[in-house]
Subunit: 247 residues, 6 copies
């Protein structure tokens, strides 16, 4: 099975980190194909950036469809997720959606912890989009990120663990999701003393993709998420223009 | 007051039609500045197209901000609306959102009527996004559009009126919204026999923009819709890159 | 265009204040006709008072319909709003409903700030009635009103601004609505340092009325808000009895 | 125990019918005191009429409080219910609310059947007010009432039973509420063949009042339903003016 | 009227306490038949224990149906309530459901106070099951129970009253429900100074049962809660096996 | 990895069918350990039967915990699911919950199709329990099951496919779940012409269990689903009594 790991951010180090965790949890026969955006933004953190990067993700998928069995959109706010499900005939998963769905059977309420308040509104949109507000115990962030984004899992570790503990103890979260690509893998490092369950979004998204390939290899391609009819376009990247044109 | 009427579709005839209705309802001192997309799609009808056209809308706004007091995104599914509110320091309205909000004080339940089933899923997203499902009496469309999109208000008129009547009589809609840019102006043509209220989306969006300019000329620029910090980018249209870069 | 500004309270000073703000935002051709209740209560602040004052509002409208294009019910809890929409063939708006609807395109969450806790339950009913609980960041009031009600915008100014700041900072409100007729105009006085958007309810209600006159001059008169058949009555004010009797 | 049965309609025959059913289900020591409105409308069927009749109900209660232990507002849409709970220090129940609450432990979904479509919107408000939309299987009415309102239980009996059967069979209702004062007692006449449970609103309201007198004899008089401070008024019926004035 | 008071816990002292309160509020002709579980747990406090004790409750009902008019499941989380309604042709009430329903006409928001945090999740399930989250002001418990469970109404009295006061003052509860069988009767002991309404669950459940016997003596036996067809079983207590087998 | 496939029904043929599908989708290293109930009912189809069979499932798990990594409760209504999550320190999944969660990323609305109307109410409870009513397109069943339950996938095949087609075409379902253990495997047999996605519940539950073992091997054991303290019991199966006693 070949899964495209589509990082719509331009930071290669982030893709590497995500791919490493993805490979650790993937089944033996699964090949992870990491892709890094070549235009857009170094790191997306808002709805306006996600509007643009979601379109970039569609280009990246269209240009690498050959032989792919599934797609993971590897940015926590899931830019372009619904559009990709509409457009491509294979399963597409997103880090935020997959992590929240994995949290449901593991507890009654989940929290999200991330490293900067800048992404709060965008992340909260994902909770709303899935209709999970009744199960959501809140978002906790530090006042600001410290140091380079790619390093926060190391440099801000203590702060992030404290936020997760506060989510468990004060917000009554049963599950904590460490949201944001730079925190990939961090959930697996919580020890047995951690008083709630920690969920890793990229791991959840990869395993959900593997599951969907077995359950529904053609993806979500009919009815409400039907592929629109072929349509001419101007200015799109060639593979996407071809795909959307019905080619 | 200067309002940008941003049509993220590439069809000039559609912009002309929208601008004509906009000018008819605008207050004496309001100048309507119509803009038509120069790339993207002739006519958007799906989430994947809206993902791309929403980014195009951001470019169009960034390139024409000078002297503008408000923006109307002139496509019924409101592509890029939330992103634009985040990014620009002036009021931004959308045809779907404004039409639904205008419907609320005019009845208990509203319906949407449009000319093709292809846009159903995308339009329903707008209802969900505003949390208006409890007030929504449903969407009615013909089995397929007939003839050129730009002409449907004329060619499909009888069909569309029949759908509106069915919405009122069978679905208990008090208000019918004629959704989709090609139907601009049609609501004003329903006679006194029409058994419910018909709402015109572009008129609603323009007048809502005028109202917001008076109430909150800086737009929705703080808190949950705060403008993200300046950020470098690659491949964006120059004015948008400059704006998002903090320039 | 002639808009009845119906103050169902008996305090003339309050009507004057409301009319002044209304005239400031109304379009050039709009005439504001202020009306003050001649029976009922000096100032409504509860559901039981609103039950009675809502009926008074209906009388006031019925007695002044001649030549009117729209009605604004000028008390924040919107007494008699739904009944008036049912009964009269022209657009009717309310301060609470219009303010909350204006808040929606300006932010993700809104708060209400008022000058006394006595009106809390009644005001919260308005939030529920519009189904806006998911967008509501809470109500903040001082422990008690200070001095004459008509003067609180001046005497309690500092306290009210502090409550608005707390709503923005602690409750994550993007928009603050200053609720209650005695606070009319206050939102326009917040300076550029104010960290969120302030919305003025009477301004919103007047401009919404202007908009609805253009969109649907006959008001919300069919379907779920249909005018009931003519019916005999005993003890009603003459113009209302005549109107409800089908006259 | 003395229960005021407050009919805010002016039709004495309706009060008699309601009182007869109330006395049939009341506990041995319970005295039913029927009151008929002396002004307002012969029969309320809309929100505008209920706005006025709810104020009439408050007058009727204020004028007959002496020795009363509880109040039943004996019109199906519960005019003035929340206001009465705020104002008076004893339990107050309403026919619609009590019937819907009695339906909950008797089935998963309930329907309302009534004799005229004119009351539909008003009755649906009661469902919304209790937040019971998820348990509501719908409202069924004939196209129009036939004959004098006071006689419909007899003249329209077959039609009404057919509507109840349709609610059970087509709408999957487990419980049918016969709504509207003229149908009082009808639920008790459904035979053992009736395929779902029929609930009588006035019976439910009287027994709920008896229960609340034992559980909370002071009624709902604090917090969110606190009695407003005494306030001067003009034009109110004397006992109500005295009561609201703090007398 | 004969009401089975089914305590699915094995503690006789608790049954005695519940029966005493039940008899105090029951109507003159009502006979309360208390039953104590002979297997299962001394005191249920979790979903897993309720899964088992709910089945025990079904056995207890099936073995004592002869001559019974209604059943009260006398444990606050209502174990087996929905199953019992499905299975038996008479009204069945539960302490949690009945208390919450009694709270609704007595205030806008209710809180639950209990003596141990161990039951929190289970009790919160009851709130969700009735769809009452919008009316729920929260659950307050001490950090841990003190002394024998059967005595907590006495030994922890001051703590529990303080929690109730905090619910009223800090959480804006209008009604406080003292949840948990060992607190039966406590609500009636709150003095006139208590700033909100206190509701006793066993009293509410018994009076609700009396009411339902009059409204619908056959219970909730059709449609969505229809009795399943007779079915063979292995290992069930004989009367339950017989009842479920169609005997 | 060792997964207990716990069939709380007593029909061995059903267990065999479920185990066959489970083994087909399980990862290479996964061992499926099928268990069939030895008491309870041949086939559960109601809430009352599920109340009892859920307790049986707890016994089956407690008696086979040794070496197990996860549990699948192999009956579509998920009897005992929440209780098992509370009680055991490993991931527990259920067929209904897993199937509905797998449906979410595959479409906007899902339907359930099953072979008998008898299970409707019980199945609908699962939809409510996950809060998925807004995504639910309805349940379709034939008027009655035909022939032995274990054979319905063959004998009723055409009827069931027709119901699935009706769900897709008339109810606008994007995903159809074939609910009920006797239909295990059927979803995989829908051909490429099937106009929506078909999801197999046992496959979804097994793969979800595999995923959760990797994400959170200790299961949902803290916070809102915390294991209750050890407690004495009477009459429970020995391994369950020991487990619940803290042994």
């Amino acid at each position: 099975m070949k899964i495209l790991l589509v990082n719509p951010n331009m930071t290669q180090a982030m893709t590497d980190r995500l791919a490493a965790v993805a490979r650790r949890v993937a089944a033996p026969g699964t090949e992870i194909v990491p892709l890094t955006a070549t235009h857009g933004f170094p790191y997306i953190s808002s709805r306006s950036e996600a509007q643009i990067a979601g379109a970039v993700a569609l280009e990246m998928i269209a240009g690498n469809l050959e032989g792919a069995d599934a797609v993971v959109i590897a940015a926590f706010g899931d830019p372009g997720l619904k559009a990709a499900r509409e457009l491509f005939d294979l399963p597409v998963t997103g880090m935020a959606e997959a992590a929240m769905m994995a949290a449901l059977p593991l507890g009654e309420r989940f929290s999200i912890v991330t490293f900067t308040p800048l992404m709060s509104s965008w992340f909260l949109d994902s909770v709303e989009a899935l209709g999970l507000a009744p199960r959501f115990a809140g978002l906790r962030t530090p006042p600001a990120a410290e140091g380079p984004v790619a390093d926060v899992a190391a440099t801000m570790r203590e702060t992030l663990v404290d936020l997760a503990l506060a989510a468990a103890r004060e917000d009554r979260a049963d599950v904590v999701i460490f949201g944001g690509a730079p925190l990939a893998g961090m959930a697996f490092e919580m020890g047995p003393d951690f008083p709630c369950v920690a969920v890793d979004p990229i791991a959840a998204a990869v395993m959900q993709a593997e599951m969907l390939v077995r359950l529904a290899p053609g993806g979500a391609c009919k009815g409400g998420l039907a592929r629109p009819p072929g349509k001419a376009s101007v200015g799109l990247a060639a593979p996407l223009a071809r795909h959307m044109g019905g080619g």
